[in-house]
Structures are given as structure tokens and as C-alpha cells.
């Protein structure tokens, strides 16, 4: 049995899949506890939490102190002593007194620690962590090495956000583990991760909604090339699918690149709960009237025009002309955005897809379909996803060092490229296996990049250095097919 949960802006969607698919919607106003109480403790549980995390990330600025260990090179704010070289050697030590002084002299809510080349050797970051942890608890401190990739400025930026949301992720884990101790989170690429792996780089949980929609729409419609349009309460998301996979892009926050990859989506700030004042507004002001709210919304406008969503009687405060105008405004906006993609097929998901998709498809001059259970496609997508991971590996045969996403792993002398790749593939399978992934899902490991060069000292080859990126691609678990 597979259970998927997507916590959205308005509702929490739940999908339970065994011999058949059952879906439920629970209003967020009832609280996450209530939603969790409705699911069985049996089987596999995957939770997509992007909404509560997005709220923190786009909300008020948090008081985060960043400590950087840049060593030689460009200038970075928050710099302390210490340096790691390209090869992962410690070439300058940190000064513990300097760190003590910084920590004593401020009262930030959380601390972000990032060192240049820490993905090749995390010792200095760990040393700073040890000092900081005398004053802060683990859930208030984030370090940059587990992010894995080179690009120090982007790693600093990502670590800051990690520090900001780590506490919230810890509390979500506690809450969900009361129901199912072995649950998974859905990441921004649509793959699953164990909670403990997520805590190393919590930002992978950010923006998972479009990924769940992409997976769910593909699972329900089996359309490999289409545009998915997810009409939610707060926003409408357009997610293109190519060969059954979404497109990925780097997440940019506050104008700077992070090292998080997410499913590419166009977000239109209108949905079923967008309120109607003189016209349709790009924000929500409570629930729709038909769900007990105060102000009329797009959902109420649909009711006035003949739909039966919730308590349709309460929608009648809108007159027919205003309702029609609001719906037309929405259709115009969305269909012109859809046209940009020139889709052959439009797959509608979300709770208003049944009511709006045929009109959108007509205006965008394309074919629209709404698969069964489309209203909770996001939760279905979460339920059927597979464990995935992407790792950056650096191997230095002279230092006998192998780092995998910034963490040291046992080094093994490999005779050649083939043996080395086979060895690290097995390391990756082990990680996924420990998280409970079935063998079929981890059989195929992609080598996304591979580069290798010899170290020559005194006219002699003294070492070989290899960098590679490998991945278990996200997608739909073999067990769910």
C-alpha cells in the first residue's frame, strides 16, 4: 500500500493506492495533525511539504548568522580564518577563539557555516560546528559540505536557507513519525528521500509540489509529452513533461542561484481561492464562501455559473455578470500562458480542473484531458515516486580519499575507470537500499558527468583525481506500476 500526502496552500491532499486509488482532501485549517490522523500506519508513506517550507522561505527575513571559511581567493562576508585546498588538504587552520568571539557576540536564530572546498574535506566546517554547537542546538546549525557540489557562493546561499528551515523540518519529522516512523519526504526533483538524508540539505524539500504534480499527472494519464496544468486553491502551475519526465532547473532565491534543482514550472498566482473584489485578485483572503469563507472567489464564481462546489448557496452574493467576468479573466490569463508552450495535449489536475480545463484547452486551441483522481494528482504523485539521489564524488588516489556529497567514504584502489564507477555505484545503491528502495528502482544508475586527470610530480604520475556526478533518477517506483 502506498500513501502520498501533499500539503498545499489551501488543502492537504491524501492518496492511498493499493488495488485501487482513493483520494481525500483535508482543509489545512483543520491542521496537519488532523490530516495525519486519517491515514493508516501501514505501508509506505511519502510526504510533500513544500508549502509550509515555502512560507518560511518567502516570509519575513530570519536572523541567520553566516560564518564563511573562504581561504585565499575572492572576498566573502563573514569570513574567518582557515582554508582547504582543491585537493581537500587543510592548508590553514581555523582559530577557535575567533569563532567563540563571533558566537558570543550575537544572538541569531540559526547559524550557517560554509567553507570553500568543504565538499572535498569537511573537517574545518565540522570544527566550527563543534564550537557553535556549544551555544546552539543541532537544528539551528547548517553546514555546507553535504550539498556536495562546487560553487561556494551558491553553497553559502543554500546553507543560509538550510539554517532557516532546518528547525521546521525537524518538527515536521517528529509530527509525521508519530504516524509512520519510516516515512519519506518528496524532494524538489520528485524523488524520495529519508528524513535523515533530508536534514543534511533541507532545501531539497523546497518546491516539491510541481514535482509531485508532474509524477501524478504522468502516472494517471500515461501521457509522455504534454503540458500539465495544476489548478490549486492559491496558484495555477504549468509543468511541461517530455518523455514522461519534467524539466529541471536551478532554483534562484532572492536573486541568487542556489544549488537546489527543481522541476521547472510556470506559476500563475491565481487559483480557486483567488478572491473577487472589483475583479479577480492574485491572492487569497481566506476560504471560498462555499467553504465557509467571507469573500467571494473564483470557486464561488463557478458556482454562480452553475457548478456545485461545496455549499453553492453561499456563493450567490456574486451577481452573474461579475462571476462571468472573473472566470473569463482567469481563462484569458491562463490560456495565454498555456499557448506559450504550444502543447499537443493539456492534462488538467487539481480540484478545479474538471470545471475549467475544457474552456482553457479551447482557448489555447489544444486538446484537454482530465484523468480520474486528477483532483489529488499531487498526492498520487507523492505516493508513487521512487527513492532518488544525486551524488558528487571526488576521488584522489594519492590521498586515498573518496568524498561523496562532502562526506568521507571508504576509499578503494580501483584498477581503472570501469572498476571505480562500479564501486561508487554500489556505494550509492547501498545508501538507497538502507532507505528501503527496492532493487528494481536502483538497478539503473546514471553517470551524469565524469572527468579524470593525472597528477604529475617530477615527471612521474603520482596520483589520479576523478570527479563524477552519479544519480538514481527520480521517477515512478517500479512497485507502483
Amino acid at each position: 500500500m502506498f500513501t502520498g500526502i501533499d500539503i498545499g496552500g489551501t488543502n492537504t491532499d491524501i492518496a492511498v493506492i493499493d488495488s485501487q486509488i482513493n483520494t481525500y482532501k483535508v482543509p489545512n485549517s483543520d491542521g496537519l495533525e488532523n490530516a495525519l490522523s486519517k491515514i493508516s500506519t501501514f505501508g509506505r508513506l511519502a510526504v510533500s511539504t513544500s508549502q509550509p517550507l515555502n512560507e518560511i522561505i518567502t516570509g519575513h527575513t530570519a536572523d541567520i548568522r553566516t560564518i564563511t571559511i573562504p581561504g585565499p581567493g575572492l572576498v566573502y562576508p563573514g569570513a574567518v580564518k582557515g582554508a582547504v585546498s582543491h585537493r581537500g588538504d587543510i592548508v590553514e587552520p581555523i582559530d577557535p577563539n575567533e569563532i567563540q568571539k563571533i558566537i558570543k557576540g550575537q544572538h541569531a536564530r540559526a547559524i550557517a557555516i560554509a567553507g570553500k572546498f568543504s565538499v572535498r574535506n569537511d573537517t574545518l566546517e565540522k570544527q566550527v560546528y563543534d564550537i557553535v554547537s556549544q551555544y546552539y542546538s543541532d537544528e539551528q546549525i547548517a553546514i555546507s559540505s553535504p550539498i556536495g557540489a562546487l560553487d561556494f557562493p551558491a553553497r553559502i546561499h543554500t546553507t543560509k536557507f538550510n539554517a532557516r528551515i532546518k528547525g521546521k523540518v525537524v518538527s515536521l519529522i517528529r509530527q509525521i513519525q508519530r504516524v509512520n516512523p519510516d516515512f519519506y519526504f518528496v524532494t524538489s526533483t520528485g524523488g524520495l528521500t529519508s528524513p535523515s538524508r533530508a536534514l543534511l540539505n533541507p532545501m531539497v524539500l523546497f518546491h516539491s509540489s510541481p514535482a509531485t504534480v508532474a509524477n501524478g499527472a504522468y502516472y494517471l494519464s500515461r501521457n509522455e509529452n504534454c503540458l500539465v496544468i495544476d489548478i490549486g486553491g492559491t496558484t495555477t502551475e504549468l509543468v511541461p513533461l517530455k518523455d514522461g519526465k519534467p524539466v529541471y532547473e536551478s532554483v534562484v532565491l532572492d536573486g541568487s542561484k542556489t544549488l537546489i534543482r527543481a522541476v521547472s514550472a510556470t506559476s500563475i498566482p491565481y487559483g480557486g481561492d483567488s478572491c473577487i473584489r472589483s475583479e479577480l485578485c492574485p491572492f487569497r483572503a481566506g476560504n471560498s464562501r462555499s467553504f465557509g469563507g467571507g469573500e467571494p472567489t473564483l470557486t464561488d464564481a463557478l458556482n454562480v455559473m452553475g457548478a456545485r462546489i461545496g455549499d453553492a448557496g453561499r456563493s450567490a452574493v456574486l451577481d452573474h455578470a461579475d462571476a462571468q467576468r472573473a472566470v473569463h479573466q482567469y481563462l484569458e490569463l491562463v490560456s495565454s500562458a498555456v499557448k506559450e508552450y504550444h502543447p499537443h495535449i493539456l492534462v488538467g489536475t487539481g480540484y478545479l480542473a474538471h470545471y475549467l480545463l475544457s474552456d482553457i484547452a479551447e482557448r489555447a486551441q489544444t486538446t484537454g484531458i482530465v484523468p480520474e483522481h486528477a483532483a489529488s494528482a499531487n498526492a498520487v504523485g507523492a505516493a508513487v515516486s521512487k527513492v532518488s539521489l544525486e551524488v558528487h564524488i571526488h576521488v584522489d588516489t594519492e590521498r586515498k580519499r573518496l568524498t561523496l556529497n562532502g562526506l568521507s567514504y571508504p576509499y578503494k584502489d580501483a584498477r581503472d575507470e570501469e572498476h571505480l564507477i562500479a564501486y561508487v555505484k554500489e556505494l550509492i545503491r547501498d545508501i538507497a537500499r538502507k532507505e528501503g528502495a527496492p532493487e528494481e528502482d536502483i538497478a539503473d544508475i546514471q553517470v551524469l558527468s565524469y572527468s579524470s586527470y593525472d597528477v604529475v610530480r617530477g615527471w612521474r604520475v603520482t596520483a589520479t583525481i576523478t570527479d563524477m556526478i552519479l544519480a538514481i533518477a527520480p521517477g515512478i517506483s517500479v512497485e507502483a506500476l
Binding site: 585565499p72 572576498v75 572546498f117 561556494f152
Partner: protein
């Protein structure tokens, strides 16, 4: 306007033999450093992909016979001299290096970028009209300079600060006043040429300036030469663009040479030349990588320093890690500067008929 970096992963392809000092490892740590510093995400930086040079481009400088020799030897493999083999398929890598310099020059001339650093391999400045030498096959900088002139620029200044004398470039432009060649190099040293007395011939007399310096020359020596000769020379010549043969083997950790320039010294040098270029030639600088064999302690920091200076970034933290400090103290020679001052005064006597800035100082 931005700083262009011409680079493609194929610049790592060329290798004469697995343990030759001019090897792919030279750029690997530099790239690690650039990627880790997020250089390619910066708005001040534009990554440019090199296009291979054409035969016509190469023939602007080299003889048809030599080009044919390279093309043929690239099929069979062969040898030019003891340091310079011709591995199979060399011609593709050599054309891409020369083409990278042209790509950079075009980007500057087309105002896509303000200045440009070409991270090309193999290097070029020992290659003359009709022969390769010293790890070099095609003279990337010379081909690029002739290309700039083909596109209408009149005067080009070449500053060659590689630790070895740029004998190939000197030979190509020795009688040509439209190219001012100025080389700072360790002397006596490979390839043996580069005496300050060699100032050019015919119309080119006075337009070939060699600044030989002894082993142990530090940041101070380079600063002195910059102020005393290079900057006033450029100011008087008023070039339309400045080409730099950017050898990074003056660094104090370089295993093949004996000079003692630091990464910060490099960045400072480049910063001053950028300021000068801004005032005389719209900031047009095309720097092309030449030598540099201190792959770990030198190249990542010097290359980053040059790029930072060219992109107008803060260079105050450009330096080597502290563990190299001992080496620096051993390499620096205090005798170098007095010797250089003496050489410069001799050189000025030889050049005073050709350059007003020298005569003017003499009157004072």
C-alpha cells in the same frame, strides 16, 4: 561590460605524454577554483566557447610548409625538439588554441566583452614563423594580433610576461613597428635569447623591448618595470589593443623557473594594466595563457587573480595559502632589484633615440 573567459573542456585534451609538464592537470585546479568561486555565475563574467582557427588564420603568421608539417605529423605523431613532441591529432588542439585567441579578440572588438582571458592550451610564444619549440606549435598571440590588424586595428602592444623569453613572437614581429613587443623574462634562461640589446631591425627598430631579469625577482621588480618602462611605453605608443602572453611561470612555486612573483603581485600587475588600457585603448586587453607549471600552489591563484582584476573584482584576498610562505622566503633575492635597475638604465640608453619618455626623463 564584462570580462570574457574563453574556455572549452577540449582545452584539456592536449597531452604530449602522460608525465609532460605541459599537461591537462595545469588547468584542472584552476577550473576547480573558478567553479568553486562561482566565477561563471557572476554578471561581470561571460564564458565564450572557442572556435578553431582556419588555415588562413594560421597563414597570417606561419609558413605554408610549417603548417603542412604539423598537419602531416599529426597523423603519424612526431617530434620537433626534446621538449616538444607532436602527439597524434595535435593539429586540432593547436588550431583550437589559436582559434580561442581569435574568439577572444573578436568578442573584445565586437564589444561583447570589455577584455578577455583565453585559457588555451597548448601555449604558443616560442613558435616562430616556420618552427615550433618549447611546448609551442602555433603562435596563438601572434595569429591573434595579425587577425586584429586584419580587422582594422593599426598598432598592437604585446606584453609577454612569461618567465621564458617569447622568442617566437619576437622573431615574427622583429622588423614590424606596428606591433610593439615587450617581454619580461628570466635571464639567462631557456631559450637563451632575450638580451636587452635586441631592440628590433629596420622599421621595427625600437619596437622590440626585452626586459631580462635575474632569478629571485619579486613583486617589487615587476612593479618597478611596470612604472619605469611598461606603462610609459604603452602611454607613448598608444596601441589600439593590448595583447598579453600571460605565462604564469613567474610564480615563486613554479618548478621550472626561478622567479618570485606572488598571486597578489600578478593580480596587481593586471589591475594596473587594466587601468592603463581604460585610458588609452577602451580597455581592450586580450590575455592568452602561455606557460605556468605550478599546478597546485600557483596557477589556481594566479589565474583567479588575473580574472578578478580584469573583471574589476576585489583582489585584496588574492594570495596563496600560508603553507607556501616558506618557499617564497627562500626564492626571493634582494640582489635582483639593483641588477634590474642597472639593466634598465643601459636599456634606456639604447632606446632613447626611439622613445620620447626616456629622453624627457634624461633632461630632468
Amino acid at each position: 561590460m564584462t570580462c570574457g573567459i574563453v574556455y572549452a573542456p577540449s582545452y584539456l585534451n592536449h597531452e604530449q605524454s602522460p608525465s609532460h609538464p605541459e599537461r591537462r592537470e595545469r588547468l584542472s585546479y584552476t577550473l576547480d577554483q573558478l567553479v568553486e568561486e562561482g566565477i561563471f555565475d557572476l554578471p561581470q563574467i561571460t564564458l565564450l566557447t572557442p572556435k578553431p582557427a582556419t588555415r588562413d588564420d594560421v597563414l597570417l603568421v606561419h609558413t605554408p610548409e610549417y603548417l603542412q608539417f604539423l598537419e602531416k605529423t599529426s597523423i603519424t605523431g612526431g617530434i620537433i625538439d626534446a621538449d616538444t613532441y607532436v602527439p597524434k591529432d595535435l593539429i586540432h588542439d593547436a588550431l583550437l588554441a589559436a582559434g580561442g585567441a581569435i574568439t577572444g579578440a573578436d568578442a573584445v572588438l565586437n564589444q561583447v566583452v570589455k577584455n578577455c582571458f583565453v585559457l588555451a592550451r597548448p601555449p604558443g610564444h616560442h613558435a616562430g614563423r616556420s618552427q615550433g619549440a618549447g611546448f609551442c606549435y602555433l603562435n596563438n598571440v601572434a595569429i591573434m594580433v595579425r587577425h586584429l590588424q586584419r580587422r582594422g586595428l593599426r598598432r598592437i602592444m604585446i606584453l609577454d610576461w612569461d618567465a621564458h623569453h617569447g622568442n617566437g613572437t619576437e622573431e615574427i614581429f622583429y622588423d614590424d613597428p606596428s606591433v610593439l613587443f615587450c617581454s619580461v623574462h628570466q635571464y639567462p634562461f631557456y631559450p637563451g635569447s632575450g638580451r636587452f640589446e635586441d631592440i628590433g631591425v629596420g622599421d621595427g627598430k625600437g619596437y622590440n623591448i626585452n626586459l631580462p631579469i635575474p632569478a629571485g625577482s619579486s613583486d617589487k621588480v615587476y612593479q618597478y618595470l611596470l612604472e619605469e618602462i611598461i606603462l610609459p611605453l604603452a602611454d607613448e605608443y598608444m596601441p589600439d589593443a593590448i595583447a598579453i602572453s600571460a605565462g604564469q611561470d613567474n610564480h615563486f612555486t613554479d618548478p621550472l623557473t626561478g622567479l618570485a612573483l606572488t598571486a597578489h603581485g600578478y593580480a596587481g600587475l593586471m589591475q594596473e594594466i587594466c587601468i592603463l588600457a581604460d585610458s588609452i585603448c577602451y580597455g581592450r586587453i586580450i590575455a592568452v595563457l602561455e606557460g605556468g607549471y605550478s599546478v597546485e600552489g600557483g596557477l589556481p591563484y594566479t589565474n583567479l587573480g588575473l580574472i578578478a582584476a580584469m573583471a574589476g573584482l576585489d583582489i585584496s584576498n588574492i594570495r596563496e595559502p600560508e603553507i607556501y610562505q616558506d618557499i617564497l622566503e627562500k626564492v626571493i633575492s634582494e640582489d635582483a632589484l639593483p641588477q634590474v635597475i642597472k639593466m634598465v638604465s643601459e636599456l634606456k640608453k639604447k632606446l632613447s633615440d626611439h622613445w620620447y619618455f626616456i629622453r624627457r626623463y634624461d633632461f630632468r
